[in-house]
């Protein structure tokens, strides 16, 4: 039982919880105590320290901004207006709050607002669905398009859109890069001949990919009735992120252990068996390492691409908040930052699990 728990921790990458369980079970208290200190207490302390520093810095910037605002009013509108402004700021009135780096408390409030906002919008959507259910059923019977909700998406909706886009892009990258990598890996001629493509396109910035893709997509889908910005952003994400998988697959396929290939020759395996039973299985670990890099690159470039492509998602959320400049916009941007970081981390962990599950090497 205890073993099982520990094993599952290990698999999930929560091995830092292991000593805690051991300590509770009374195993080697001194050693496990030290491990807990190192892996649990110190990290928690570092989080608190981080929050403290942020808080201090935020308050410092706030004070600077406040001073500047009052001075500006003094210079332009006179002493009375400046005094009024000072009073207004110190009373905590949101309308005259100086716009600076939000403190951890502001960020927390921003997160709460976003969740409240999501609840309101969800309720609104639900109400809309109920209201239009009858009409939509009728429209469907008449063969017309149903009426859809066109209100503002909530923060959670934006997250879901971003996840959809990143998965579509990742899938595209995998579908392009793995077969291409296999072909390149098998043929030394092609590998040498096409090396320039990889070398040139790999370092191209996501922004340029976006422009390139939109040039093409705009023409091809000019009349098609679909969400062009989604198509453009997921294709750009795919093209940006596929290179790691392509390179790794080609490398895995071209560097299969010579002994395996000799066995395959002795057995006179056909081309199909040789590729699917020998070459691919032996390159699986490298391919999945590539896929893991691809997914993290995809997530990283996605935000920038959404921001530029004006396609819905976390990227455009951040951009809109920045443009919007409401007094809690900065806090919301920081919330988005942590959400982006957290999701990136979760995606990476997920890929790590898959990688462990398919790898024949790391079993012990």
């Amino acid at each position: 039982m205890g073993r099982k728990i520990l094993n599952s921790f290990h698999w999930l990458g929560f091995s830092f919880l292991e000593p805690l369980v051991r300590l509770i079970r009374g195993e080697e208290p001194k050693k496990n105590g030290l491990i807990i200190f190192r892996k649990v207490i110190v990290p928690i302390a570092s989080v608190l320290l981080f929050l403290g520093v942020c808080n201090y810095f935020a308050h410092y910037l706030y004070a600077v901004e406040r001073e500047r605002k009052i001075e500006k009013t003094l210079a332009t509108q006179g002493e009375e207006a400046a005094l009024a402004m000072q009073e207004c700021i110190d009373s905590g009135d949101l309308s005259c709050k100086p716009n600076s780096l939000p403190s951890p408390g502001d960020v927390w409030n921003g997160a709460v607002t976003l969740i409240e906002d999501h609840k309101t919008i969800s309720a609104d959507k639900e109400a809309f669905r109920e209201k239009t259910a009858g009409i939509n059923a009728k429209r469907k019977a008449q063969g017309k398009e149903p009426i859809t909700y066109t209100g503002r998406p909530s923060f959670v909706d934006q997250i879901m859109t971003s996840l959809e886009t990143v998965f579509a892009g990742f899938l595209l990258a995998a579908l392009l890069a793995i077969p291409a990598g296999i072909v390149l890996g098998l043929s030394e001629t092609l590998r040498t001949a096409l090396n320039w493509v990889i070398q040139i396109f790999k370092p191209v910035s996501p922004v340029v990919w976006l422009l390139l893709v939109s040039m093409v997509v705009k023409t091809i889908l000019a009349s098609a009735d679909m969400d062009k910005s989604f198509v453009i952003s997921f294709i750009s994400v795919g093209l940006c992120s596929m290179w790691a998988t392509l390179v790794n697959t080609a490398m895995g396929v071209s560097s299969v252990d010579k002994d395996y290939l000799n066995v395959s020759k002795v057995l006179r395996l056909g081309v199909f068996s040789n590729v699917f039973k020998v070459i691919l299985p032996s390159s699986i670990p490298l391919i999945f390492t590539g896929l893991r890099i691809t997914l993290s690159v995809a997530w990283m470039v996605l935000i920038a691409i959404e921001l530029l492509a004006q396609s819905p998602g976390l990227g455009s959320f951040v951009w809109e908040e920045f443009q919007n400049g409401a007094n809690d916009s900065n806090a919301k941007i920081i919330v988005a930052m942590f959400v982006i970081g957290g999701i990136g981390f979760a995606l990476d962990r997920m890929m790590m699990l898959v990688q462990k599950a398919v790898s024949y090497e790391s079993r012990a």
Binding site: V263, K265, P281, E361
Partner: protein, 261 residues
């Protein structure tokens, strides 16, 4: 060169030459190498490190290009590698993502394409049991010990029903206990199948215990057959009777004297 007349010649190397191109000109490992192996004969090849034993064996296997000369298998020149010349490599070279059974099966499928699934299964299980792996059919190759892996390697080779079995220091990576165990396994399976075998080894005792003939190669470059010892110990052989046989030390002395030069 030896003239063998009484039984059919299964494998013949005729004027076999191997030169590896190097920046400073060709490096000739073997030149005009001659060898005949009779059907059901077990021969060993010994010689100093780097004299070209592996080169010879891989050329016979079809895994290494022949510079000049011929390898005849059953009087037909070989063309590339094939399952009629099964190889047991020094490193077991099992596919680690497959089970022991699957590792044998992949070859059996190639050699017996018309057999039913059940028949193929029986063949694989028969040979795996023969090498002592009756309870490890479904273990992943990666989870097997080095000795067990090499057992699978032996089962895989015999299951191909080859005309010739090629072994390149098959027990070189094993500890001496396991090595002795596996020599017994090999001689046991071999005595039932009587497949023509060529084994490269560094171990003089192993060569005497297993072979009918030990070929001693001169040091390269331009390696040739330097001397031949006929091991006339009757089969089936038992380890302790072989060691106690008065001729055993004569053979041993013969081989060691050659290697000392």
């Amino acid at each position: 060169m030896e003239i063998v007349t009484d039984t059919k010649v299964m494998l013949e190397c005729k004027d076999l030459t191997k030169a590896y191109p190097t920046p400073t000109g060709d490096f000739v490992v073997l030149e005009d190498f001659q060898l005949q192996v009779k059907e059901e004969e077990f021969i060993s090849i010994i010689g100093h490190s780097g004299c070209g034993k592996s080169t010879l064996l891989t050329m016979v296997a079809g895994l290494n290009e022949i510079t000049a000369g011929q390898v005849l298998l059953d009087e037909v020149p070989i063309n590339g590698a094939g399952p009629d010349r099964a190889v047991v490599f020094q490193s077991p070279s099992l596919f680690p993502w497959m089970t022991a059974l699957e590792n044998v099966m992949i070859g059996v499928k190639q050699v017996f394409p018309h057999a039913t699934k059940a028949q193929r299964n029986d063949i694989c299980k028969y040979y795996l049991s023969k090498v002592g792996l009756a309870d490890a059919f479904h273990k992943k190759a990666i989870d097997l010990s080095q000795g067990m892996k090499q057992r699978v390697g032996i089962a895989r080779a015999f299951a191909l029903k080859p005309k010739v079995l090629l072994l390149d220091e098959p027990f070189g990576m094993l500890d001496s206990m396991t090595r002795v165990e596996l020599q017994d396994v090999l001689i046991d399976v071999w005595s039932k199948e009587k497949i023509t075998a060529i084994m490269v080894t560094h171990d003089v005792d192993e060569a005497i215990f297993l072979s009918d003939r030990v070929i001693m190669m001169t040091s390269g470059p331009y390696a040739k057959v330097g001397d031949v010892a006929h091991i006339k110990l009757k089969r089936p052989r038992e380890r302790h009777t072989v060691v106690e046989h008065p001729n055993f030390y004569k053979y041993r002395q013969h081989l060691l004297t050659f290697l000392d030069h």
